[in-house]
Structure formats: structure tokens, C-alpha cells
Symmetry: C2
Subunit: 376 residues, 2 copies
């Protein structure tokens, strides 16, 4: 396997687009990535499209609008890790030597329909849906480690503060810890502002081999590690306070990149709920097990601190259109490593990471975890 680079990335602002087709959203993000890469679209040799709900041959439908015909197109589904899985397949297609220049597109329209449990999903119908599941994990974390409600709320406060600086975020409005705590209760202890929103969005990335990357880009971003794991997201049913699958994936990613957790300058991690960010600080080994609450409280995940987490606003503030999320994370890391993140720029960012979790109801126990490390 040879090196592969991100030479272009683009996205559209996440939000609600009732009047636009998913194909339009995907197309706009793809053009943004292609323009950013300064390539001719005819150079694209293969395309990968990540989504969950956009019907058959979504990637082909997007490319047809763009006038790109005749290349390999693969559509990928992996629940909330769909975008990351799509990015990984694109990465493998370049790293393997199969292609020199490929396009990864993630797209989702979710604002028009709720994800409801299937009728045969007894767990889901009884309330074991995502907010309930993460609420139980939060309760466990509070019980085991004394994590506080204010620490949980601080995650949302931080991510909304950063989201307010991100023109691509669905919500660009700061909120205080008190506002987070006083927002409507969804699943105790998680209030509304501690849950990521439903929305529409798209993101895209252009990947290339070293030769092409050097030709077209003065600042290519190297994919230093790519890991995808599936299985139970936690150790056992008795330890929901940890994300074993993330930890296993992270160890492998650090080894691939030849670095450790403290080398990560900026990380987009899966904060679908406030507790998820705290659990993932620990599982990604940014801090010791049980210390995630303190980590956020002491400001260690702020810009300029130990690791800048979710500078884009994360899922909580930027939004979470499933198939788009993983590639939007890549977009943020590319911005940061190029020094183009504006007011939310992490000083001297050289190493970035993306982390997404996936799973479905009632199949939360058959989830996925994708981790990528990027360097410049």
C-alpha cells in the first residue's frame, strides 16, 4: 500500500433543504471539492458515495448531474460511519495503486423524516433508541466516575461556541452551560442541546497518489492511518461507560501512523450526544479512563490546549446528516492542517484525526467505528 493524500475537500452548510434533491446537495459539495483540488473533473477515475437513505445508485445520480460518466462508482452504507467508510474505500482504491485520483462524496437528507424503530424492534419501541441508549451510558459514567451534569453540558457549550465560528455549521449560535442544562429534557440526563440535530448535508473529498498530489497541490494532506472496525461499541453490557471498539481502532490507527494520542493537535470526534465526546476522549486515549469529565471541565479539549476537539462544532452544532458526517470531518481537518480555519484555527496544527461511530436501531450492538489520522 502506497501513500494517499487529500488534495481537495468541500462541503455545503448543513441544515434543512426541503426544496433541494439529495443529488443537488451532493453535486454542490463535489464541485466544491473539485474546485478546491484545482483538477479537471474528467480526471476523476472512480467515485465512492456514502449515504443511508438516498435510494439506489445515488452516486451515479450525482455524477450524472456533473457530466461524469463511465467510471467506477460504488455506493456505501454504514449508518453514521457511512461517510467515513466511503472515505476509507476511496483511500484504499488509491493506496492500493488501483487508481490515482478519486472522489468521495457523502450525502444525506434527513430533515423530512424521523428514523423510527421497525415494528419488529421491541427494544426500540420500548425506548431503547439512541438518546435513551446514550442517556444510560451517561448515567453509568456519572455513577462510575462522578462525572457531573455541568461537565456534560460543557461539551455542548464548547461545541456550539466553535460551531458559531463555522459558516458550514447547521447551528451557529453560542449557548451557555445554563442554557444547555435548562433546555428540554430528552432522556435523563441528556437535554435537547446535548443531542445532535437531524438535518441535510453533503461533503466531498478528492484523494490522489503522491505524484498527482504534488502536481496539483501545494498543501496536500497525507492520510497517515485508516481503520474501520465493526462490533459492540462497548466492552460488555456491564461497561457502557467505555467505547472498546473506538479504543481498539485508535490503538491500531496510532500504530499505523507511528504516533501516540498526544501527537494529535486537532480531532473531529463522534459527539452525537454530549456524553459521547467524554467517552471518546477516554477511548481515544486523550486522557485516562474516567477522566473525560475533568478533561472537558479543565479546558483540555479547547483550541490551543492538549487536543482541540470538534473545532467545527461537531455533530452537536455542525449537524449530523449521516452519510455526510465522516467526510465533513475530513473537510474540517483539512482546513485546520492547511491553516485555513479562520477564527477557529488551531495554532500550528500538524496532525489531525477523525473518528465516527455508527450503528442502527435496533442494531446498535452491530455498530462500526472509523478512525483516520492526517498529517502535513
Amino acid at each position: 500500500m502506497r501513500d494517499a493524500y487529500v488534495i481537495g475537500a468541500g462541503m455545503i452548510r448543513f441544515g434543512k433543504y426541503p426544496d433541494r434533491w439529495a443529488e443537488e446537495l451532493g453535486e454542490e459539495a463535489a464541485w466544491n471539492a473539485i474546485k478546491d483540488a484545482r483538477i479537471n473533473p474528467r480526471q476523476v477515475q472512480a467515485a465512492f458515495c456514502g449515504h443511508s437513505f438516498q435510494g439506489r445508485v445515488a452516486g451515479q445520480r450525482i455524477l450524472k448531474r456533473m457530466g461524469i460518466q463511465g467510471i467506477e462508482v460504488v455506493n456505501i452504507e454504514n449508518a453514521c460511519t457511512g461517510g467515513s467508510t466511503c472515505f476509507r474505500q476511496a483511500y484504499v482504491s488509491v493506496a492500493s495503486g488501483l487508481y490515482d485520483l478519486v472522489l468521495a462524496i457523502g450525502v444525506e437528507k434527513m430533515s423530512e423524516g424521523l428514523i423510527l424503530p421497525n415494528l419488529e424492534d421491541i427494544d426500540g419501541l420500548m425506548g431503547r433508541i439512541m438518546p435513551g441508549h446514550y442517556a444510560m451510558r451517561a448515567q453509568r459514567h456519572m455513577f462510575e466516575y462522578g462525572t457531573t451534569l455541568r461537565q456534560l453540558a460543557k461539551v455542548s457549550e464548547k461545541n456550539h461556541r466553535y460551531g458559531a465560528l463555522n459558516p458550514y455549521a447547521q447551528y451557529q449560535k453560542e449557548c451557555s452551560i445554563e442554557e444547555v442544562l435548562n433546555s428540554r429534557m430528552i432522556a435523563d440526563p441528556l437535554t435537547l442541546l446535548q443531542c445532535c440535530p437531524a438535518g441535510d448535508g453533503a461533503a466531498a473529498a478528492v484523494l490522489a497518489c503522491r505524484k498527482i498530489a504534488r502536481k496539483y497541490s501545494s498543501r496536500p494532506v497525507k492520510v497517515a492511518a485508516s481503520v474501520l472496525k465493526s462490533g459492540l461499541p462497548y466492552d460488555t453490557n456491564s461497561d457502557w461507560a467505555f467505547a472498546e471498539i473506538t479504543n481498539r481502532g485508535a490503538k491500531e490507527a496510532y500504530e499505523q501512523a507511528g504516533i501516540g494520542p498526544h501527537d494529535i493537535d486537532v480531532c473531529e470526534l463522534h459527539d452525537c450526544f454530549s456524553i459521547a465526546e467524554i467517552i471518546h476522549y477516554e477511548s481515544l486515549e486523550f486522557c485516562q479512563r474516567g477522566e473525560g469529565g475533568k478533561f472537558i471541565e479543565e479546558g483540555k479539549s479547547e483550541i490551543g490546549a492538549i487536543v482541540a476537539a470538534n473545532t467545527s462544532g461537531g455533530l452537536l452544532s455542525k449537524g449530523h446528516p449521516l452519510g455526510a458526517t465522516g467526510i465533513a470531518q475530513v473537510f474540517e481537518i483539512v482546513q485546520q492542517l492547511r491553516g485555513e480555519a479562520g477564527k477557529r484555527q488551531v495554532p500550528d496544527a500538524k496532525v489531525g484525526m477523525t473518528h465516527t461511530m455508527g450503528g442502527a436501531i435496533p442494531e446498535i450492538e452491530v455498530g462500526s467505528c472509523a478512525i483516520h489520522i492526517f498529517t502535513v
Copy 2:
């Protein structure tokens, strides 16, 4: 890219399974492939699952039933080429050196619901659905080349005759040319027995690198070519009688394998309708353009003739559960190249091919074509 081999293949009989989950069908096919490969399931390093309608993280749901946890799982959608695209991703993952032993599973349940045009699909609502589309292509072929109704019907007669010898076929009953011609008209000139059925099914394959293949298999089947293309299935709107995308894919596949069309002993090709088989004889270059009708009439696609086409019964008789089809084609070729195809065995078969087309309504113009060549 290094060599990769199929060391095990399995499927379940295609048909209607109203009382079984898609996960059960996929699991049974996967166990059949694993048993056939004589590997320990714990050796599987990654899994790829092809389907269109089975919901989120279908691959993970199948593997959970099998007790396989923690590996990379990717779910792939590509309409009727979903199974082939899945097989190709599994192939790339081994050929690239990323993994040494992987599992490809294709599954679909289709017997419980029709595929209906979307409400915004004006073409579809006005009748440009698959049977109508292929009927127009048949009319064009008859007009251009004098292809006859009996030649079209002969495709169905042959494939049902072979399907009757295949214990995995949905329909195992011979029918005469007269019965084909006299069956209910669906879209002129295509009668019911010239259209593939809707059904449920699953198929799986185990792929491995040379070292593993030699260790576990006395008869590994080498993947000599793998090609996936997307785009218009025909040249232009004025020449529906040819499948340009298939022809372009075939030329590339022959080059990859270092062989020509007349080296193919046995071919599973995409006979969703009788006319499709005739068009694909030409597009795969088994005969000259316009001579597909004569090719079937003169028996040149029979077992023991120039190229044995659809010895499994093809989509017409074996059935066509979208995501399963491409891998079921691989299953048939593996049986043939190992000399295990029983009464439908092609004598001395050394080189096999699979060919699938994909597309969706209304997106038939954004289809896919996957071609694989296999050797022993």
C-alpha cells in the same frame, strides 16, 4: 496489486422466504461459503455485504448472528450490480494486500414488495420501467438486425432447461419455445417467461491471497480480471440495440486477463430479459454485432458449444434477488471451473466470466456494469 482467489462459495436456493429474515438468508449463504472454503470463521478479516433494500448495517447484522465481531464491515449498494460490486470490493481488499482472507455476502428479500417508480419519476409512471425499457431495446434489435421472436424465446427455453438442472434455481422447470411465446404478454415483444422473477436469496464467497489459497484449497479459482464501470448502458439514445458500457468493460477485462472472448468457456451474463442475453452476447464480443439472435438459434451458447451461457439458469430461471445475483454468478462459475456442476457441467471448463448490469428506475441511464474473469 497481487493475485486473489476464490477459495469458497455458497448460496441458498433462490425463491420466496416470507418467514425468514434477510439476515438468516445471508447467514446461511455465508456459512455455506465458509464450510466450502474449510476455513475457521475467526480467520475472516473483513466482510463486504451487497444489497439494496435490507436497511442499515445489514452486513453487521448478518455477522452478529454468525458470532463474528470486531472486523471491518462495509455495506454496498449498486442496484442489480450490488453483489458484483461487493465481490469487487472484497477482491480489491485482498489484491491490494490490505487483507489476506475476506468474505463477500450478497443478500436480498424482494418477494414482499414490488419496486415501484417514485412519485417524481415521470418516465417511470408513464411506463418506462424495466420491462418497457428492455421491450423497446428488443424492438430496436429486431428492426436493426431481423432478430426473431423465436430467437428471443429460445434464450428463455435454454435458461429454463439449465435452471431445471440447478438445485439452487428459483424455477426448476423446463419450458418450450412455444410455452415462452404463449405466456402472458408483459411488454411487447417480451412475454412473462422472458422476464426474470422477483424473489429472495443470498450468496457468498470467500476470497484469499495466494498463500492462504494454497493452504486451504486444492482448487482455488483465480480472479483474473475485475472491472466496474458506470454510465449509460447503451451508446446513445439512438442505439439501444447495443450495450456500450458492457463492451467497454469487457475489452478492459479481456486485457486484464490477457485473453480474448473466445477463451471464455462458461459465462454467467445478465439476462434480466431474453433480449438482454442477446445484446450481451454481442457486447461481450462472443459474436459480431447484430448476430446475437443467430448465436442463440444456432446453439452456440449451449454447454459444449462456443461459450456456455447461463448454465445456472441465469436471472430468468435461477432468479434475481438484486444484491445476491452477482455473487451467485461467481458461485456458478466456481462450480463449473472445479468440475462440480453435475448435469450442467461444461466439459473441461478452465475460463469463466460473470457479467452484471445495474441501474434503477428512473435512473436506468446511470447504471453500472461489472465484469469478472476467473481461471483455474
